[in-house]
């Protein structure tokens, strides 16, 4: 998957776990929490969906990497680069 495809995969996960949010104006450089109502259970949903959909494991010590879209994509490129789009 390319970085752009990884970004789209995250958008699709966010649309599912935060269906009331408008993601069209998401600022990739700013943390999700500053732009959306996401709590710790929601972040666990992101981790779970990455595991279910792409078999990507995100260990607990790396959760901090999922703060913003930019940091998430950067973190996931080595893990998802080999995943077919």
């Amino acid at each position: 998957m390319t970085p752009e495809e990884i970004r789209q995969a995250i958008i699709e996960i966010l649309e599912d776990i935060a269906p009331d949010e408008d993601l069209s104006n998401l600022n990739d450089a700013v943390s999700f929490r500053e732009q959306m109502e996401l709590d710790s259970m929601d972040f666990l949903d992101i981790v779970m969906e990455l595991r279910k959909r792409y078999r990507v494991q995100v260990p607990e010590e790396d959760y901090v990497q999922l703060a913003s879209m930019d940091s998430t994509v950067t973190y996931l490129v080595p893990k998802m680069g080999q995943v077919p789009a």
């Binding site: 599912d16 776990i17 935060a18 009331d20 109502e37 779970m48 595991r51």
Partner: protein, 419 residues
Amino acid sequence: MISRVNQQDLPDEMRVVITGIGMTAPIGNSLAEVREGLLSGRSGVRPYEIRYFGKTLAGVCEFEVNRHQSKKDARRGTRAGSVGIYCANEAILDSGIDFANFDKSTVGVYVGVTEHGNVETENEVYQIKGYDYDTSFWSHHHNPRTVANNPAGEVALNLGITGPHYTIGAACAAGNAGMIQGLQMLRLGECDLAIAGGVSESIHTFGIFAGFASQGALASHSDPAKASRPFDKARNGIVVAEGGCLYTLERLSDAKRRQAKIYGEIVGYAINTDATDFVLPNAERQAQCMQLALKRANLSPEQIDIVSTHATGTTNGDSLECDAVRRVFGQSEKTFINNAKSFIGHSMGAAGAIELAGNLPAFSDRVVHATINVDDLDPECDIPGLVRNQPREVNRVDYILNNSFGMLGINSALIVKRF
């Protein structure tokens, strides 16, 4: 010990009245819609399919989930929670209470459930099957979804209620049990407003269908509308339904102060236990339950205008309940008997609360809704006053007694007086 106080001599601070009703049932999402369905003979039973079990029949609700709940919370929570949130919000709106300015720490939420957690557990087991039972795919939402207080807790979370909340597990007597709990907490001063009744999401678990089928107690019929047929000779079991009905209960003193609309006053109630069998009812104990409710209300059987029966549509259950009703009301010429399960199926933990609500408009419209699908009355169910197939106009309705019974021999009866 059992109170011997004549409840109608109680001060207004100890009298409890119904001031709001929110409900969803397979024949409607408000009391007006449900009442119209009951009077017009409309069935809410339809073909239904669920994983593993396959094709069957069920009563299905179609309320607007997101009217009072965000999409995110509906996804995170349970169907029972969504049913409860809809009913609680609708009840509060119906009550006319200024909820925005109401002290939320004085509100109690008491939700009756037949069971809770089966739906969510079945879903998770089904999901991890797709991952070769690797439990790392088991949802972190499982525990908050399956804790027994979930449906009441979701209501409290949704409405910002900080008073007590919990569910009352009482099998299919739970709707009545929730209301009784609310009444008791109001009398104890534990809350100033009780949101009480029952909910059920049971149609989303295959286990309840499979369990009743294995027990020989699941209804089937080529015409879904004819499948739920209590008291008919050809009845062959239960139609499982979902639903919910929550009431706002208040002390009469508070209701008068705010000039609330009052649907009725709860003047008697009883819960007792068969202690004889896991599933087979006990007519003697059911009769004792109704008699205890009458005694507490200081009423004779002849003063009850409507008995809303539990009437699940099983061969044994209906016969035994009719035996019990005959023991108590057999000599009463003015008592009419009906039930709502013939229209909507068995909404489990919600049943008692829904069925009582469906009868409350009779206080003002003076019509007793029928029990439908009685094409060939079982002689064992031929009880005096049975309102068969067509509603019946009467001169007045002052008292309604609502029966709700459940597995493990739990019986409940609730008496509501016209106000």
